[in-house]
Subunit: 179 residues, 2 copies
């Protein structure tokens, strides 16, 4: 347990808030913690027939185009299930026939409270993607095991995608996809 003694608000952005806390540590000594607050996000592993629908997009912070599972930020008060269904449709044009939550992950708990809710979904094509302003997304459909190979060979660099795909594999290989 660490107790905040004083919170300094550094930045109040659209996506993140940044705080600097003076904290009391377990042994009674004092230190500082830098914290990035984030409203949380969802990510979906969308399975269509024997393929997974991924998205490729340029990520400004890392200056690279990344191959990822569809994902997006929670809106204020939004239920993660609703967000998963909404983001899936917006980013890929696919809709979920079945959807189940398979995990929750803190992306970087050393400095951020961002939590991602991970879902596994059976999906079908429905319409055209409707990305948000400022999102330029290319849809990529790949067989599940090809994605696993891309992960092992280091071609997929997004943490939630690696965790989401390898976690989904446990559910799919366990036969739970037939529920």
């Amino acid at each position: 347990m660490e107790k905040s003694l004083k919170c300094e608000n550094i930045f109040n952005g659209n996506i993140i808030k940044v705080e600097r806390h003076r904290v009391e540590l377990q042994d009674g000594s004092e230190s500082y913690r830098e914290v990035v607050r984030h409203k949380g996000a969802v990510a979906v592993v969308p399975v269509f027939e024997d393929k997974v629908v991924l998205v490729k997009q340029f990520r400004f912070p890392v200056n690279e185009e990344l191959l990822e599972i569809p994902a997006g930020k929670l809106e204020e008060g939004e239920d993660p299930y609703d967000c998963a269904i909404r983001e899936l449709k917006e980013e890929t044009g696919f809709v979920a026939q079945e959807i189940q939550k398979i995990g929750e992950l803190y992306t970087s708990p050393g400095f951020s409270d961002e939590k991602i809710h991970i879902f596994l979904a059976r999906v079908v094509p429905y319409g055209e993607p409707e990305p948000d302003f400022g999102e330029f997304i290319e849809k990529v459909e790949l067989p599940f095991q090809d994605i696993v190979k891309l992960i092992i060979s280091g071609k997929i660099l997004d943490g939630k995608t690696v965790a989401g795909i390898l976690l989904s594999e446990k559910y799919l290989s366990g036969g739970e996809e037939n529920d």
Copy 2:
């Protein structure tokens, strides 16, 4: 591709720097990107006999104690291998007999450039842990498959730990642990 038109330096902390960029998007329109810069980190899946050595520690940003694989921040100019060996010894008191890199992950590429280098190591006990100032770490040794079960049941919430353990499983089950 998105081009930075102007960078505003918001915060220059010990662990993170925060920037706000005005950017030109793919279609020529303009927007803003909030970016958390981080020096990068390493994480190690340390295998001792049939067990993995984990660490339990309180994480201030999420206000929870988390069970994680040992990890730490890269020092300026430090080689990730050296960092992995150093952090493993500091946090657990174990040393690596064999170590291999199994991946690189961006923890949250939507707003941060933090990259974690993931290693798999065969380790042996060597001495007492020597945590950094402000780190209070409890060592926990668990059988590999027990950790996989904790992941599936949602008891392990740290993203790098979920990705690192499930990725390691691919190497260990593939017989590559006998190299």
